[in-house]
Amino acid sequence: MARTFYDEMYDASGAVRPHYREFARWLAETPDDLLAQRRREADLLFHRAGITFTLYGDDQGTERLIPFDIIPRSIPASEWRVVERGCIQRVQALNLFLADLYHDQRIIKAGIIPAEQVLANEGYQMAMQGLDLHRDIYAHIAGVDLVRDGDGSYYVLEDNLRTPSGVSYMLEDRKMMMRLFPELFAAQRVAPVDHYPNLLLDALKSSSPLDNPTVVVLTPGRFNSAYFEHAFLAREMGVELVEGADLFVRDDKVYMRTTAGARQVDVIYRRLDDAFLDPLAFNPDSMLGVAGLLSAYRSRNVVLANAIGTGVADDKSIYPYVGDMIRFYLDEEPILKNVPTWQCRKPEELSHVLANLSELVVKETQGSGGYGMLVGPAASKAEIESFRARLIAKPEAYIAQPTLCLSTCPTFVERGIAPRHIDLRPFVLTGRETRLVPGGLTRVALREGSLVVNSSQGGGTKDTWVVED
């Protein structure tokens, strides 16, 4: 099948795009053996820094290094400004949607989203009904996954409003590039990203009504795949990294055990799913949470970031409605496009999906991390048939989308430099205002032809540049 991919560095005629000219010149001038040596150096430094992740579904609990590629993904500033506005618009609408859903439900009454689809959704949390949050912030931290189709236009693949991860790679990749290739940053202006931890701390603090709230990062612990990131962000922000056992609740307030006695906690940046937050209110087997946390939260004595119950807004069955949310709450047209989506719970859309499985991407509505998805054009007959059975058994659990021609970016592979598919996850912070640092995390599918960029599925990362054009 012939496909045309948009390449970030080269245009259709093979010429280097203007915002990559400086880099291309540098690449041509730099001897191959020097590049090879720097790449080895990068591997060594990442190992030493302990930037690894644990692979789920791997019995060994093996820690792996996420491959880092030294060829950056570069975005012209004029293009970035549109993406930035689009992300802000989207996250603002999603926060307004959550506030509405857990209060007046105007969007349901207006007939824009069917009641059953949100209220009977697993991500909808009764605990949030009628609960007022300071500044109405639900998703303090959002990761918006973007890809570019054949013509270069950006599409939102999904919104991650629960506990999006990956921002530590964005920061570490930049540090690494500046350390290995300082000359590149002298040659042109690349927008900085290192103020992200300051913006994050500011967003977290401003989500509390207190003047100088005590903030902590709550991690499930060192066996979690993103533990490195939890520790990293706590250190960068200068706040405590805690596990559930370090916190306790007394009279609806949350305290942290310290060597100097109990200290009240006001804002918890939690990297723990809703179901594990409070064993007395949710999953009773959770050893990771804090007994009584929900009562403290509902008494408004502590802020959780993100709020409980944001999952209802990033569910893939709700995704098709985000454009309508933007029109409804902001009275604006969406800046970023949604990928056309077939909802398998609708019988007529299901039959279309079943008839075209070999061309579509099928995803679980509640899935994440690239697990449990079918990429039709890359799947074997057996894989397609097994997915067909799953779809027929539980159609409401799936959506399908056309296979997008994800853009490519030149990448170091075993036999030199070759194009590989990439995506982009900007991290959108909401406190007093909604903002983001320029760029985000670029993930690259290292296997030739692969469209799955998740680190758990053999993806790597690249530094992401926003450069003046």
Binding site: A115, E116, L119, A120, E122, Y124, Q125, M126, A127, M128, Q129, F248, V249, R250, D251, D252, P279, L280, A281, P284, A291, G292, L294, S295, R298, S299
Partner: protein, 265 residues
Amino acid sequence: MRLSISHDTTYHYDDQVRASIQYLRLTPHDSERQQVLSWQLDLPRPVHAQLDPYGNILHVLTLDEPHESIVIGARGQVDIDETCEAEHERQSALPFLRFTRLTQADDAIREFAAQQSKARVDRNGLIDLMHALNAHIAYQPGITEVDTSAAEAFAGRRGVCQDHTHAFLACARSLGVPARYVSGYLYTDDAEHLASHAWAEAWVGDAWYSFDVTNCLARPERHLKLAVGLDYLDACPVRGMRRGGGCEQMHAQVQVAPLLQVRQQ
């Protein structure tokens, strides 16, 4: 009918408990069917009441001084309007369509529900379902545990009111009928059943109707409602955690009595 309730729960621990926390749903609230005349909780220390996610009255008891036992007492008087069959509510019932681990419907339950209700999702269909479940799961204490799921109890065909209720919820939700767990007290002259009780409510038309599978009752004549939720875990009267303490012995005493002299006045 006016009911007088006295419910004492005592927890004894083999070792000293360093700290404990309990979510207590031991206070009924007024509704169309019940009017709380007086209610008092006796706790080791004073605690403010709050509302939980389901609108139940919740007390969160935190004890951080070492202790070897906890005594929790609840007593009061409530008027039950026996003629009131349904409870209306403004909140949407749709969140109660959701399955939980304890109420997940497997193929056997789905098939049973469709067959016994004859695909009728009205009150009569659900009453038939209630009778069928009562016949299918024999009341027998000591077989199931608090974390036994609907599917396990359904397959094992023996259980208590909690299992009956979970099985009913799994059936009703599989038919697309919102249904919820109710924990409360039952007045009974028959000593076979404990006076702490559980039953189900299902949303039919525009109101919640009761279905007591254990007693095959579709009219909640002698039922006092304490709390509702998606399953036992949301609605149970006491849910707690502790640090230390070793083994625990729980002793619960419940007395539910009608106040006949009041009725005669």
